[in-house]
């Protein structure tokens, strides 16, 4: 679970770190990815295990267009205006999903991995969860590789450090931003496809993840991609252990408490400075 949180948070943190825009619609991107995985499976019989590139592409496109149509106009606006726009957008997306597909929980029946378990000694690991964990880690590594090795990735890093200087070097900041938004979307695109194998799909299914992702991004330190992944794993563990020892109703309380406590020692996040 932790690595899925990590991946969702990586997507959010990428947008947040590079553009200083809090994307409140992030959870809705995740929800839409889960819905597209659901529809791919029930309409075309494509298992989420193989359809994830399609979901990723869809959400990438959604993120790209969100930037081009909405965020572009507010990215330079003062303070909280961008937040206003993304929050409004999240309302639109969530209720659009409810309008089109109703508020019912949907489960993906009979995927290749569902209800299969792996037994390692006393440990029982559900295969869907295992696939989600491995997929998330691979995607995070891919994002990491992309950012540090490709031209576009370096352009994103440069723009995040100093936009004006990057523009003077001939980087098209507008294109970089659009791409970053798409890439942030692609992260949840993968996460949503993987989650849909063992998590119910409904219009609110992204909401919890976005609150957790905010906390994880902050815990990792803003602008720190690997920090977000590590913080995600920590929070996933905290949730599981907290749920086990204190009861499931308190598992998220533990997660939020850990954030508050860690912040007393490291006010700029675990891996930020």
């Amino acid at each position: 679970m932790g690595s899925v949180y990590g991946l969702v948070a990586v997507g959010l943190g990428l947008i947040w770190g590079v553009m200083d825009v809090i994307n409140f619609a992030h959870g809705e991107f995740l929800m839409l990815s889960m819905y597209s995985a659901y529809w791919m499976h029930s309409l075309f019989r494509i298992d989420p295990l193989f359809s994830w590139p399609i979901e990723t592409a869809i959400i990438f496109l959604l993120g790209y267009l969100t930037y081009k149509v909405i965020i572009k106009r507010v990215v330079d606006a003062p303070g909280l205006t961008a937040l206003l726009a993304t929050f409004g957008w999240s309302l639109v997306l969530r209720n659009m999903a409810q309008f089109l597909w109703s508020a019912n929980y949907r489960y993906l029946p009979e995927t290749i991995l569902s209800n299969k378990r792996l037994l390692i000694g006393p440990l029982v690991i559900g295969l869907p969860q295992l696939a989600a964990a491995i997929g998330s880690i691979l995607m995070t590594l891919a994002v990491f590789y992309f950012l540090s090795r490709t031209r576009m990735g370096r352009a994103i890093q440069a723009t995040s450090l100093d936009r004006d200087a990057a523009q003077l070097m001939g980087i098209d900041a507008d294109r970089v931003y659009a791409f970053t938004f798409g890439l942030g979307g692609a992260c949840v695109g993968v996460a949503g496809a993987l989650l849909s194998t063992f998590f119910p799909v409904y219009p609110e299914s992204g909401a919890l993840y976005s609150t957790l992702a905010f906390v994880i991004v902050a815990l990792g330190g803003f602008g720190n991609i690997s920090g977000a992944l590590q913080a995600g794993v920590i929070m996933g563990l905290a949730e599981a252990l907290g749920g086990f020892y204190l009861g499931t109703q308190f598992k998220y309380t533990v997660v939020f408490l850990i954030y508050l406590l860690v912040m007393q020692v490291r006010p700029k996040g675990l891996f930020g400075w």
């Binding site: 947040w16 909405i70 003062p78 909280l80 409004g88 659009m96 109703s102 998220y252 508050l260 700029k268």
Partner: protein, 339 residues
């Protein structure tokens, strides 16, 4: 008192007079309902504006104070048989204490780290209330119906008393904001918003002033929460502690204009009737059409009027009187001139 402050005060008094007269002109229950919601949210916006508009500390967790106020008055009557008014006062006090205790460590954080921390605190409070059986946990509290009257804080035959009580709460919040914004304390807060280091260098204690602002903001938020609970007569944690409440407060203030006494009024005057009427007109479908329209309008306003509505009005004013400065700058200049 300088001219700008006097103008703002007179404007507020005028607004409150108009608000008092409005429900007498029309007997429409829907309009009374929208007025109550508008006034409660405008008060919440004013309260939030103290900590975020003046002191520059973005709080995403004001639902916790709102919920505490709502629960305090509901529990006072439901569990203890005490007057909801007592609950209102106790609620405001405990919200103040929560603001103090929680903010003390949280104020060490800056910027987004602070905002996320307020969100985390609000989520913790929310989850505690969900699993706290003494306050009925996730089921929520239906406040038992009592005889009508000011003492029981329940009115069944007409919404008018609620309208006037919320006008009083709004007046309280708006005037507290007005006086804080014009006081020495308000200028301290603005200095902190500008730069904590610079404020410290001229002898202002950021932690002390931020704490005081948070306590004031928390108390006012809690009072509005109590009135809300008594008006709706049913509360559960999902209604009063959710992120949606925190975000609604943020939205309407930012939409109206941050740091100005008129911001929350304008924002609430636009958002609340919009959300209530779209809910009345489209809400019956049960498929969220009202919220699609609501969200789309927020996006449109944010895209085309990023300064908030007040920015729009200011830019008109600037065009009218050439070379004039914006409200906040002008008031600061006036204050400097009169000092």
């Amino acid at each position: 008192m300088n001219k700008a402050a006097a103008r703002e005060r007179n404007g507020l008094i005028g607004l409150i007079c108009v608000l008092c007269l409005l429900p007498l002109v029309t007997g429409d229950v829907n309009i009374h309902h929208v007025m109550v919601m508008f006034l409660i949210y405008a008060s919440l916006g004013e309260a939030w504006n103290i900590i975020t508009g003046l002191a520059g500390q973005t709080s995403f967790g004001h639902a916790s104070f709102f919920g505490i106020g709502a629960y305090a008055s509901a529990v006072a009557y439901f569990r203890l048989g005490a007057s909801p008014w007592l609950g209102l006062i106790v609620g405001a006090a405990s919200a103040g204490v929560l603001g103090l205790v929680v903010s003390y460590p949280v104020f060490r954080l800056r910027g987004h780290y602070f905002a996320v921390a307020t969100m985390a605190v609000a989520e913790i409070v929310f989850q505690l209330f969900v699993s706290w059986s003494w306050v009925e946990g996730a089921t929520g509290i239906s406040i038992p119906v009592a005889a009508e009257g000011l003492a029981t804080f329940q009115f069944h035959s007409s919404k008018l008393p609620y309208v006037y009580i919320s006008i009083a709460v709004f007046a309280l919040s708006a005037f507290v904001f007005h006086y804080i914004a014009r006081s020495r304390f308000g200028f301290f807060l603005r200095a902190i918003r500008g730069s904590e280091e610079a404020a410290m260098a001229i002898g202002i204690s950021p932690s002390k002033n931020k704490l005081m602002a948070m306590v004031a903001s928390a108390c006012l938020t809690s009072i509005a929460g109590s009135v809300y609970a008594q008006y709706i007569l049913y509360i559960d944690p999902f209604m009063v502690f959710s992120m949606t409440i925190s975000m609604k407060i943020v939205l309407l203030t930012v939409l109206g204009g941050l740091g100005s006494v008129w911001g929350p009024v304008l924002g609430a005057a636009i958002l609340i009737p919009l959300s209530e009427y779209t809910r009345i007109v489209f809400g019956g479908t049960g498929r969220g059409v009202d919220l699609i329209i609501f969200g789309a309008l927020i996006v449109i306003v944010a895209c085309f009027q990023p300064q908030g509505i007040i920015g729009l009005i200011k830019s008109f004013g600037r065009r009218a009187q050439k070379g004039g400065m914006g409200g906040d700058d002008r008031s600061m200049r006036d204050a400097k001139a009169s000092a």
